[in-house]
């Protein structure tokens, strides 16, 4: 990294800190919530992009990993009294009722457990390819959800968990987002990242270059699941309630929408798309409510928002196949060139 880039990066992180400090004090709860969602969706999007975009494994099991993270974090942070109130149908399983750890450790344990589940799933499933992998991971994610619906004494079954302590704030969510971006950037540019991309481009060629396919696929899957678990934990703590229905396939679909819109295989794209999608989810809420134009009232149609989202995904896939960024990444050089209004090619030729 050049010295200029280090200075610019530190400056922007500092700017982000100032903004978070300002936002947590001055913005209303609704806006803070949207900002939190933006950061959490960034974490979730990046974790899925590592598996689907960078390693080229079409996995549809993300909601399952998020569920593992969210439930673990919730159970580990809820107080003994809250647990008793929640589990009124059947008491919670003994060691869990007294277990209580700080939020940071709960998040990490949630992530690790999710990674462990991914390892168990990945070991058999990653031998499959393409469509079969997609449908097998989708199946595993549904199995996780069905198990969570039925383990009354651990997850409270279909009732879900309520009054989870709201620890997630802007510092937690943006901290997690920045750390995720940093770790992903280091990983993608390391030799492991290059191996992932090689597998994405051509498995047979990668294998003949001496890349251990299975090891790298499992590694990508497990790391992706870890961050999905952390993201799920943050989300559960932000929402305050979770239940198994939340983690249906449609949740995986919204994360998929983010990485397709941003560009499969671009971290920058994922970050931008995560912000666009999570703010649009809130901003388009007017579609579900009635609109008063003064002289005529258009009755709101609930569900129209989701139609817009599905149509958006179709349009992106059909007409902008590479998403917003393709596989391009953000770099300070490009930004500076943009301001100097010189095309990149000309500068290269000049050098």
């Amino acid at each position: 990294m050049k010295r200029r880039d280090i200075i610019l990066t530190s400056a922007s992180i500092l700017l982000l800190l100032v903004f978070i400090n300002f936002a947590s004090g001055n913005l209303d709860a609704y806006k803070v919530r949207i900002l939190n969602l933006c950061a959490i969706y960034t974490v979730l999007g990046l974790s899925m992009n590592l598996i689907n975009g960078f390693t080229g494994l079409f996995s549809l099991g993300h909601a399952g990993f998020m569920a593992v993270g969210a439930y673990t974090t919730a159970i580990l942070t809820m107080s003994q009294v809250t647990k008793q109130q929640n589990f009124f149908l059947a008491p919670i399983l003994p060691p869990l009722d007294k277990l209580n750890v700080p939020f940071l450790f709960a998040l990490l344990i949630g992530g690790l457990l999710s990674a462990f589940v991914a390892f168990l799933i990945g070991a058999p499933a990653l031998r499959l390819k393409g469509d079969y992998l997609a449908i097998a991971t989708l199946g595993f994610s549904e199995i996780i959800r069905i198990v969570f619906t039925n383990t009354q004494r651990i997850t409270n079954g279909a009732l879900g968990l309520k009054s989870i302590p709201n620890t997630t704030n802007l510092w937690w969510s943006y901290g997690a987002a920045v750390i995720t971006i940093a770790i992903m950037a280091l990983l993608i540019n390391s030799s492991y990242g290059k191996a992932f991309k090689a597998i994405r481009e051509d498995e047979i060629a990668a294998e003949s270059m001496g890349i251990n396919l299975f090891k790298h696929k499992v590694l990508s899957f497990v790391i992706g699941a870890f961050f999905a678990g952390v993201g799920g934990g943050l989300l559960g703590s932000l929402m305050g309630t979770i239940d198994p229905l939340m983690f249906r396939f449609s949740f995986t679909f919204s994360i998929l929408l983010i990485i397709v819109l941003g560009g499969m295989g671009s971290m920058t794209g994922t970050v931008i798309a995560a912000f666009i999608i999570s703010s649009a989810t809130e901003l388009l809420r007017f579609l579900d409510q009635s609109i008063n134009l003064g002289f005529v009232v258009i009755p709101g149609v609930s569900g129209l928002r989701m139609v817009v989202f599905s149509a958006l995904l179709m349009i992106v896939v059909l007409f902008f196949r590479n998403g917003l960024m393709g596989t391009n990444e953000f770099s300070w050089d490009k930004i500076i060139n943009l301001f100097q209004r010189k095309p990149l090619i000309k500068r290269r030729l000049g050098q």
């Binding site: 689907n52 080229g56 079409f58 058999p124 499933a125 031998r127 499959l128 393409g130 469509d131 079969y132 997609a134 449908i135 097998a136 989708l138 199946g139 595993f140 549904e142 199995i143 069905i146 198990v147 619906t149 039925n150 047979i204 396939f249 449609s250 679909f253 998929l256 397709v260 499969m264 149609v301 609930s302 569900g303 129209l304 989701m306 139609v307 989202f309 599905s310 149509a311 995904l313 179709m314 896939v317 059909l318 196949r321």
Partner: protein, 297 residues
């Protein structure tokens, strides 16, 4: 468990299995020809149920007219989905087509919420099918027997179409190799559209019978049957129509029997299909009747 009770469960299982089979045929035909999981198939099935519901409930058609109209409309819907969502992407990477299929599925589902309303509705009853009759000690709705008979008749009709007609030959040619089929004078696009039409019509018939058997209908009703029927197609060997029917029966009978024999596992009923899928994928990835696909460099 008494023998009579066992028979009762078995007929229920076979009946459910033949519904799965009808829908699974659509998956397997599309996969055979395009190598694509048609994620929207479950939602096309849901649309068919709604079409026939509105035919009877809103337009006051007699049930048989409404069912025929629903089947024709669904047929066109299937072709429309193919034209709009899959045809433009035929040459692009597989992941894009898969994403497009998922997008089409969610679009149909959400459109159904907006247009038809999200609240569950009650499918109209048709006395002819829903009368309860008693054979020996087993009492069942007529429908329970009509479903397997109808499914098997349709299966044999379809097999005849594929093996003995010109369009069927075109389908088989396209499923082997698009390029060669085109050179041999087969209209590839027409054949693919026809495949979607037939698959959707079968899903529509399955959907109408499903609606009569499980009369509560809602826009999300296509998801689970859709996934399970795809699993049925994989179990039987995807691309193979007889295999899809066999897979449907295995899944239907297995599901009913598990709930009947081990009532404590009732909550895990939906997991059974997925566990079966994973076991099959690990030990015989090409399914029971599938052909082996070798890897080409």
């Amino acid at each position: 468990m008494t023998f009579n009770l066992f028979l009762q469960h078995l007929t229920n299982g076979v009946s459910l299995g033949s519904l799965y089979a009808l829908i699974a045929i659509g998956y397997t035909m599309v996969y055979g020809i395009l190598r694509l999981i048609n994620f929207a198939h479950g939602d096309i099935f849901m649309m068919a149920v709604y079409f026939s519901f509105f035919g009877v409930a809103t337009f006051g058609m007699p049930w048989y007219v409404s069912f025929v109209v629903a089947i024709i409309l669904t047929c066109f819907l299937g072709m429309l989905v193919e034209r709009a969502a899959y045809k433009p992407l035929r040459e692009s990477p597989k992941v894009n087509i898969l994403v497009s299929a998922i997008g089409a599925s969610f679009l149909l589902q959400n459109l159904a919420v907006v247009v038809f309303g999200g609240r569950p509705k009650a499918f109209p009853t048709v006395n002819l099918f829903q009368q309860v009759m008693t054979i020996g000690a087993v009492s069942l709705q007529r429908l329970t027997l009509i479903i397997p008979v109808a499914s098997l008749t349709l299966l044999f009709g379809l097999l005849f179409l594929i093996n003995n007609t010109k369009s069927g030959m075109a389908m088989r040619a396209v499923s082997k190799d698009h390029e060669t089929a085109r050179l041999m004078g087969v209209d590839v696009n027409r054949t693919i559209t026809l495949t979607f039409g037939i698959g959707s019509a079968l899903a529509a018939i399955g959907g109408i019978m499903w609606g009569m058997k499980f009369p509560q209908i809602n826009p999300a009703m296509g998801i689970m049957p859709g996934l399970k029927c795809f699993i049925a197609a994989v179990i039987g060997g995807i691309g193979n129509i007889t295999g899809a029917v066999l897979g449907g029966f295995i899944l239907g009978v297995g599901e009913i029997m598990i709930v009947a024999m081990l009532p404590s596992l009732t909550g895990y009923r939906d997991a059974f299909a997925f566990i079966l899928l994973i076991v099959i994928l690990l030990f015989k990835p090409t399914g029971i009747m599938g052909e082996k696909i070798s890897e080409k460099v």
